[in-house]
């Protein structure tokens, strides 16, 4: 999916700052690059701004300062972000926010239809995406009747159906039971896309990320050195 000739980073963020309307600054001077094939983990405490960072990358929030470059294009406004949104897929923290269509099939089709594919093509894409993720049996089910793990998986299918080059994942395993967590982890490890994975679970990040940064005091820094301690599982 990624043209190997492209040497520019998929995402390049410089000095990004963000604050809620009248609040204290949440992010300040955030700086990182994402290259093809990388899986960047972003760890951090509750309320440290992890989700806001992903929203900024999608152009859903406006930064107070700094720049976001996607695929070499400097993106400032809705107009800049819009044509690139198909190439970046964001998986929301709460799958219920993302699965707004009445049935699984329609939900997965929503993105490709917006991208302008014909109905026949879309039906093919939907069938293929669901089959790839082992979800074909859910196609006709109403979304409001899915279990938590199924919802997360279908939301991922909806994002993947747009054939993005980059995935942004917001706490992809939170609130899932252990089986569903393992399932999602396996799914992610099988995908070719570059990813930014936000999670407060360091164990999960160690499993899936190729490198991990820590978001603390509004900035991204290297993870502190892992100090092994005796701890029972």
């Amino acid at each position: 999916m990624n043209d190997p000739a492209i040497q520019v980073p998929l995402i390049r963020v410089r000095n990004l700052a963000f604050r809620y309307h009248a609040g204290r600054p949440l992010l300040e001077g955030v700086l990182f690059e994402l290259r093809a094939g990388e899986r960047l983990g972003v760890s951090g405490a509750n309320g440290s701004g992890k989700s806001s960072l992903l929203q900024l990358l999608m152009g859903l929030e406006r930064p107070a300062a700094g720049t976001v470059e996607l695929f070499g294009h400097l993106c400032r406004d809705e107009v800049d972000f819009r044509p690139l949104r198909g190439r970046i897929g964001l998986l929301f923290q709460d799958a219920d926010d993302q699965l707004f269509c009445p049935t699984v099939e329609e939900d997965v089709a929503f993105g490709p239809l917006n991208q302008g594919y014909s109905h026949a093509q879309v039906r093919g894409i939907v069938a293929r995406t669901l089959a790839d993720l082992g979800l074909a049996h859910l196609a006709q089910r109403p979304t409001h009747q899915l279990s938590g793990g199924e919802k997360r998986a279908v939301a991922l299918a909806g994002v993947l159906a747009m054939q993005p080059d980059v995935l942004l994942l917001d706490e992809p395993t939170t609130c899932l039971d252990e089986d569903a967590q393992a399932r999602v982890t396996r799914l992610l490890l099988g995908l070719p896309q570059a990813m930014v994975i936000v999670s407060h679970d360091p164990h999960f990040l160690r499993c899936v990320a190729s490198r991990t940064l820590l978001l603390r005091d509004g900035a991204l820094c290297a993870m502190p050195v892992v100090r092994p301690v005796l701890r029972s599982v």
Partner: protein, 250 residues
């Protein structure tokens, strides 16, 4: 603790469940017009029998059916207690100054019969449609797109919000709350409503973002299509025939 509010009656595979939802909707609409327009007891009784047969064929579980009929007939009891006495006509029963008239009694019975017939029809033919399928059927019946989208969002999120309401309900109960007829109850209910309101508006904002992320440009694409087959046509003809036969009853 999730108990779905939004589910069709009789998750079944009866003959009725397999009929094209558009056909079922049109049948109920046509029948509603005919039944509302008729006032003679013969056709009403026949139509009521037809509706009862459909309820049996659709294998509606008795508990939800009874709940629906109870709601309706609580009101019908008031009709039966008031209308015969307030309508002019030949007195058939005298209780002090109050006289029940034959015309009034006939009118009350007509109302009761009509109401029950229509509710039975709605229950057997329309309430058995999966709500999301119903939304699609409405779209194909030229109901305005925006209205159907509101229906789709509502169907999608009623259970999400209701689960949240039930969880808050339990949390309130766990802290000793008992609903009574007092200011504390009013204030607590208002807190609950305000919470649900804030939750629904926050979620709407997040949904709007999720839609933009997936390239939404203000239109909702439609994927599903219905195909009426021979069975649906047969059902429609049979239903029309039965309805017509009922309407010409003496």
């Amino acid at each position: 603790m999730t108990t779905s509010v939004v589910h069709p009656l009789a998750h079944g595979d009866s003959v009725i469940h397999r009929i094209d939802p558009r056909v079922r909707l049109l049948c109920v609409l046509a029948a509603s017009v005919c039944i509302a327009a008729t006032s003679r007891p013969g056709p009403l009784l026949a139509a009521c029998a037809l509706a009862a047969v459909l309820v049996l064929v659709a294998r509606i579980p008795w508990r939800p059916l009874w709940r629906r009929l109870r709601v309706l007939n609580a009101f019908m009891a008031i009709v039966l207690l008031t209308v015969p006495f307030s309508m002019q006509g030949e007195t058939i029963w005298q209780a002090g100054a109050l006289g029940a008239s034959r015309e009034g009694l006939a009118q009350a019975l007509r109302i009761i019969l009509t109401g029950n017939t229509l509710v039975l029809l709605l229950t057997s033919l329309v309430a058995t449609i999966e709500p999301t399928v119903l939304a699609h059927a409405l779209l194909h019946l030229r109901v305005p797109d925006k209205l159907v989208r509101i229906l789709m969002f509502a169907v999608r999120y009623i259970d999400v919000l209701n689960d949240s309401r039930l969880r808050m309900d339990r949390a309130m109960k766990a802290r000793g709350y008992v609903a009574r007829c007092n200011a504390h109850t009013v204030r607590t209910s208002a807190y609950l409503v305000a919470c649900l309101l804030a939750q629904s508006l926050d979620r709407a904002a997040r949904i709007e973002r999720a839609m933009r992320c997936r390239g939404w440009r203000g239109q909702f694409p439609v994927l599903n299509h219905f195909h009426a087959g021979a069975r649906d046509v047969r059902f429609a003809c049979l239903f029309a025939g039965a309805l017509a036969a009922a309407m010409v009853m003496p």
